[in-house]
Subunit: 485 residues, 2 copies
C-alpha cells in the first residue's frame, strides 16, 4: 500500500484491481456453490466477535489479509440467503446482474439528494420505477421512488396520509391538540405498519387490528364497523393499510372492498405489496392487484421477489404532492436553479442522502427482460404448487393456509398421533429446530389461529425442484426420527 | 445468456465473471482518472430520460449491452463525486477498499434483521462501530449501530428522546392529548432535525431555532431562556440537538454548556457530528467532541469524511434500552430462540431489513488503519488551511466564517468594487454559476447572515494541493472575466 503518511490518498489502485479480480472469481464460485455451506450459520452468539480484534489496526493491512478473515470468520457466521434451500421468511433473491449494478453504484458513490447532484440517478430511478409500474399494470401517471425498505416506504406513505388530513395542520402544529388519529390494518399485517404508527406519534393504541377471515384476509365489513365506532368515539380515522401477500400466509386482502370503505369515509388507502406485488408481472396473476388502482400509495420490494440485491423498496403514490408536502424542507444550502423541470428526490422522504439504487434494478430488469422475469416467477409458483401437493398427499402433514403464491404454511400432524394442540405445537417447534440445525435447509415459522406452523417460502433463483424434494425428504426424515425417540 | 424460458435461474455465471473482470478494470481506470469528466453533469433536465427506452425490454439483454449504455447514457449524467475538484456540499469520499466491501455485501445479500439471519452481520457491525467509538474516544459501553443516513439516525434518536419522557406513554398513546413537545437546535442546524420533528408528529412549529453567535455556534444562554419560556407557556421541552460541524460553516456548538442546560432541565441531548465527528480521530483535534460524553445520542457518518461508500451512518447512544423501547415490535414470525445473548438490530430503528453495511466500514478501517486515516484527515485539514490563506491574502476575496475543519466559506468582494450587499450577492451567485458551468470544479453555496456565500469543502481522497490551486485559479479567473464584462 505504500506509506500512507507520505502519500495520503486512496490505496494503490493496482491492489484494488488485483483483489477485485480475485473477488469476482470468488463470488462466481460462491454463487454457483452456495449449497456447500450450512444454510443457517452454525455459530453461537459471540463466536464471530470472539474472532475479531477488540481494537482497530494502527496501520493499514493488505486487501488479501482482510479477505482471508472474510473467509475464515465472516463466511462461517453467515446465514446463506443464497443457499437454494433457504426457505425462511421471504427468500430474498439477489442476482448476478444486480450485484454488478451495486458494484458500479459503490464505485460512482454519488448522492442523489438533488437532481443536480447526479441527474442520471434521479432520471434512471424515475425510468425504472416507471418500467416496473408498467410491468405490474399499475395506473399511468403514478409517481414512484426507491426507498431502502418497505418499513420506511410505509412510514413515508402514512406520513403523507396524515398530511392529507385537510382539517389539521399536522406538519406545522403536530399531533398535540389533535384528536387521536386511527390507522387500520388486518391482524395479519406486517409489524412495520404498527411501527410506523408508533414513530409517527399516533400511538400503538391507535393502530387498529382488523380481524381477518378463515383465509387470513381482512374483513372489510369489520373494517367499516371499526371506523364507525372510532368516529362515534371521537377518534379520527385517517388511513387503512391493506396487504397483498401478508407475511405469515401471503394472503391477499380484498382491496376492492377495502377501497370502497376508504372512499366512503375519505381515508387514505396504502397497499403493502412488498412481497407479492411482483406476481402481477404475470398476466395470468394480474388480479392480485385488483383494486390497487384506487390506492393512494403502494409499496413493492424488488429486493424481495424481483432478483435485486437488498435494499430496494419502491414506493408509488397517486398523490406525490401530498408526499412532498409531508417531507419537503429546502434549506438555502440545498437550493438549486432547477425548478419544476427537475425532481429533487430528497423532497419525498426522511433520508436526505440517496444511494444510486436504480442502477441495480435497471441491470436486473434489462438482463432478465420481462419474459425472463415471468419465467422465473412462474417456476417459483410451480414449485410452491409441488410442495403443496406433497404436503396434501402425506398423511403425516397438513396444509395450514391457502398458498396463493410460493410460500407454504404447514405442520406435522401424524395420522396416528394426538390431536392435542399444545403437543402438536411442541412437536412442530422441535421439528423446525431439528431441520434448521442440520444446516441443510432453513425454514421459519409463524402462528396461525394460535397454532405453531412451519413456513417454506420459495423465492430464490437457484432453488430447483430437486432442492425442494431434498428439503421435503429432510423434513419427513426429521419427523420420523423425532417420533421414534 | 441461454434461454431463460428453458432454464430459469440466475444468468450464466461465466458472463458474470467475464463482465465482472471488465468492470473492475473499468472502475480502477475511472477512479484514477475521474478528473477527465466534467465534475458537474452538463446535461439538462430530461436528457438522460430521453435516452432511455420508455418501456422495459421483453427479452434479456447482455451485460455488455447494458454497460455500453452505462458509458453512453449514465456516465454523462453523473455529477462526479469522485472528481478531485468536487468541493460542493460535503465531499463524501468512498475508497477502493469500501467499494470491494460493498461488492461482497451485494453478493452475500444477507438481511441482518435478526442475529440469526446472519450472526456475522450483527457481530461485525457491533465490532466496527465499537472500533470507531474508540477511535473517536467516545465513552466505553456506548451502543452503536449503522443506519443509512444521518437523517434517519437523527429521527431514531429523537424518537428515543420522546420515548424517554417518563410521564407520558408516547409509544402506546401517541401525542394526541399530550402537551406540545418542543425540540431545540441552532439556526445553523441541519434540516434533518426539523424534518424528524415533522415526521415524529411534533410539528414544525415546535422545533425551536436557537440563535447562533457570530461564529455560528448555538448560544447556550438563549437555549436556556427558550426552554424556560416554553415551559412557562405550557410546552414540554424534551430534547436538544447540538451540532459538531454545521452544514453551512462547520461551526461547533458549545456542547459542554448545552449539556449543562440539558442536565438542568432533564432534556435528551442528541449530537449531530455527522460531518465533523471523524476529526476526533486525530488526538490533536479530540476537543471537537468535548462534552459529547454527556450526550444521550450522537450520529457520525463514515460515508461523509471516513472513506466509506454511501450509505453508512453510525448512531451511538448511551441509552440503548430507551431506543429499543421506542422501536421494538416482535411479531411471532420474527421470534427466535436467542434471548439476551444476541442482539437483534431490527429492534433499534424503523427499517426491518438491514444490509451488511459493516463490511465496507471494516474494509476501510483495516485497509487504511488508524494512522492511515489520520494522515488523510490531516492532509484535508492542511488543504483547508491553504485555501483560507489564499483567500485571506487576496484583496478580491474575503473569508465569511471561521473554518475549523476543511470546509471554507468565502465570497468575492473586489477591493475597488461596491459594498452594496445585494450587488455582492448577485456577483457571487453569478460567479458560482460560472465556475460550476466550466465542469472543472464544483462548489456549493449557502447564506450567512443573509449574504450569499460560496462553500468549498475538501474531503475527497484524491484532492491534492495542485487540484486545489487549480480550482482557486479558476475562481479568480472567472471573477476577472465577470468583472470585465
Amino acid at each position: 500500500m505504500g506509506d500512507p503518511e507520505q502519500h495520503p490518498g486512496d490505496i494503490d489502485l493496482e491492489a484494488f484491481r488485483e483483489h477485485g479480480h480475485e473477488l469476482v472469481d470468488w463470488i462466481a464460485d460462491y454463487l454457483a456453490n452456495a449449497e456447500r455451506y450450512p444454510v443457517l450459520s452454525q455459530l453461537k452468539p459471540g463466536e464471530v466477535k470472539g474472532e475479531l480484534p477488540d481494537s482497530p489496526p494502527e496501520h493499514g493491512e493488505s486487501l488479501e489479509a482482510i479477505f482471508r478473515d472474510v473467509e475464515s470468520t465472516i463466511v462461517p457466521g453467515l446465514t446463506h440467503w443464497n443457499h437454494p434451500n433457504f426457505l425462511a421468511y421471504f427468500a430474498i433473491t439477489g442476482s448476478a446482474p444486480g450485484i454488478l449494478g451495486e458494484l458500479l453504484s459503490a464505485a460512482f458513490n454519488v448522492n442523489g439528494m438533488l437532481w443536480a447532484t447526479s441527474p442520471a440517478l434521479t432520471e434512471l430511478e424515475e425510468t425504472v420505477v416507471d418500467w416496473l409500474r408498467q410491468m405490474m399494470a399499475l395506473p399511468e401517471g403514478w409517481f414512484g421512488m426507491i426507498q431502502d425498505t418497505a418499513s420506511v416506504s410505509t412510514l413515508c406513505a402514512l406520513a403523507a396520509a396524515r398530511e392529507a388530513i385537510s382539517d389539521l395542520d399536522v406538519r406545522e402544529q403536530g399531533l398535540s391538540g389533535a384528536p387521536p388519529l386511527t390507522l387500520y390494518a388486518s391482524d395479519q399485517a406486517h409489524s412495520s405498519i404498527a411501527k410506523a404508527g408508533i414513530a409517527l406519534g399516533l400511538g400503538h393504541g391507535n393502530v387498529r387490528s382488523v380481524p381477518s377471515d378463515d383465509a387470513f384476509r381482512m374483513d372489510a365489513d369489520d373494517l367499516n364497523r371499526l371506523i364507525r365506532a372510532d368516529r362515534a368515539d371521537g377518534k379520527w380515522p385517517f388511513a387503512v393499510a391493506a396487504t397483498v401477500g401478508t407475511t405469515s400466509t401471503t394472503s391477499v386482502d380484498p382491496v376492492p372492498e377495502i377501497a370502497e370503505v376508504c372512499e366512503r369515509h375519505g381515508l387514505w388507502l396504502h397497499v403493502d405489496a412488498a412481497y407479492a406485488g411482483p406476481a402481477a408481472v404475470l398476466p395470468e396473476r394480474r388480479d392480485v392487484l385488483d383494486g390497487c388502482d384506487r390506492a393512494d400509495s403502494l409499496v413493492v420490494n424488488p429486493h424481495k421477489w424481483l432478483f435485486t440485491p437488498i435494499d430496494c423498496s419502491v414506493l408509488y403514490t397517486s398523490r406525490p404532492d401530498v408526499l412532498r408536502r409531508a417531507f419537503s424542507l429546502v434549506p438555502e444550502y440545498l437550493k438549486t436553479e432547477h425548478g419544476d423541470e427537475a425532481t429533487n428526490l430528497m423532497d419525498y422522504g426522511v433520508a436526505l442522502g440517496r444511494r444510486f439504487r436504480g442502477l441495480k434494478l435497471w441491470y436486473v430488469l434489462r438482463a432478465f427482460g420481462v419474459e425472463g422475469i415471468r419465467a422465473r416467477l412462474r417456476e417459483h409458483l410451480r414449485l410452491g404448487e409441488r410442495l403443496v401437493a406433497w404436503i396434501e398427499a402425506d398423511p403425516d402433514f397438513e396444509l395450514m393456509a391457502p398458498a396463493p403464491f410460493s410460500t407454504v404454511c404447514f405442520r406435522a400432524h401424524p395420522d396416528d398421533w394426538t390431536d392435542d394442540e399444545a403437543e402438536l405445537d411442541a412437536l412442530n417447534e422441535r421439528l423446525l429446530a431439528r431441520v434448521n440445525a442440520t444446516g441443510e435447509a432453513y425454514l421459519s415459522h409463524t402462528k396461525l389461529h394460535g397454532r405453531y406452523v412451519l413456513r417454506a417460502s420459495i423465492g430464490h433463483l437457484r432453488t430447483t425442484e430437486p432442492h425442494l424434494a431434498r428439503v421435503w425428504a429432510l423434513v419427513k426424515r426429521e419427523l420420523s426420527t423425532l417420533l421414534s425417540e
